[in-house]
């Protein structure tokens, strides 16, 4: 088996890199989204804890972008797949698993746009940035479907266990966050309707 390793690496090295980086990216995106949703729910009022969570959220998001970049380069370099620049840059162009890979391309664009928009929030405005940032859950959902539909390791028990165990709390946190945002909006509307006290 050891003798076969150089041959495996020379013929399937890029494919192994693309699979490994995809799994790392998925773990990091999942962690970042989980931390982001947890922060939004404000579970602990301690500002030091909130600061630590925010730092970890940002670091995992940036590391995920790097892993997604490595995944794209490895797919592009795969001599078997030969996707071409259009195959990795334009959704639904790659022949292999056209739909699921197209979803993956969209997820990558969203990840870069929404992730890096954090550093442009002064220009686009904090409120607008926050509204756009809520769409980051789409990166996770599209990434999950891309992995399930086009991934070579979809049948792996470890992957399925990780995806299943993390999808449930993320879904619960997301529903909770939606509910909290709706309640907050309602409170704001009620407060604006309330008549102002007479000033004498």
């Amino acid at each position: 088996m050891i003798e076969a390793i150089p041959h495996t690496l020379s013929t399937q090295g890029w494919w192994i890199v693309s699979r490994s980086s995809a799994m790392v990216a998925f773990v990091l995106v999942t962690t970042s989204v989980f931390l982001g949703l947890t922060m939004a729910g404000k579970p602990v009022r301690d500002p030091r804890f909130a600061k630590a969570l925010r730092a970890l959220h940002e670091q995992t998001a940036l590391a995920a972008l790097v892993a997604i970049g490595v995944h794209i380069v490895a797919v592009l370099a795969d001599p078997w797949l030969k996707p071409g620049v259009a195959g990795v840059a334009v959704p639904f162009v790659l022949d292999l698993n056209r739909f699921w890979n197209g979803i993956g391309v969209i997820a990558a664009y969203l990840a870069f746009l929404l992730g890096l928009s954090f550093y442009l929030r002064r220009h686009i405005g904090a409120r607008r940035w926050r509204q756009a940032h809520r769409a980051t859950i789409a990166v996770y959902v599209l990434g999950l479907f891309h992995a399930l539909g086009a991934g070579s390791d979809t049948g792996s028990l470890l992957f399925l266990a990780f995806a299943g165990l993390t999808a449930l709390p993320i879904a619960i946190l997301f529903v909770y966050r939606l509910g909290a945002a709706r309640r907050r909006e309602e409170r704001r509307r009620l407060a604006s309707r309330r008549p102002l006290p007479d000033v004498v």
């Binding site: 088996m1 790392v24 995992t60």
Partner: protein, 100 residues
């Protein structure tokens, strides 16, 4: 609580990448070392266009030996016999010479 350093996330990601890379490499090498496993691994790994994109892969079975094409023996038809026709010889009357 101290703020986590970016180095921890970077090292953690690299370690995870290295572990997955090593596991996948060993798994594929183990499958490739047996011919049956090789076929199974190739099918499992690259399902859809494997059948059409096998030009880069090693052949699974040895190429069949070149077989001389069999020719059916057809007996050549005999050439039509040319009938020998004896040339007609004009009869010349014998010349009689008188010797008187």
């Amino acid at each position: 609580m101290t703020t986590p350093r970016p180095r921890a996330v970077v090292i953690g990601s690299l370690v995870l990448f290295a572990v997955i890379f090593a596991v996948l490499t060993f798994e594929l090498s183990a499958s490739a070392s047996t011919s049956a496993g090789k076929t199974q691994a190739a099918r499992k790994a690259r399902p859809a266009p494997t059948e059409t994109k096998t030009d880069a892969a090693e052949p699974e079975e040895p190429a069949p030996e070149s077989v001389e094409p069999e020719y059916e023996y057809v007996e050549p038809e005999p050439e039509p016999e040319v009938e020998y026709v004896e040339p007609e010889v004009e009869e010349v009357p014998p010349v009689v010479t008188s010797s008187s």
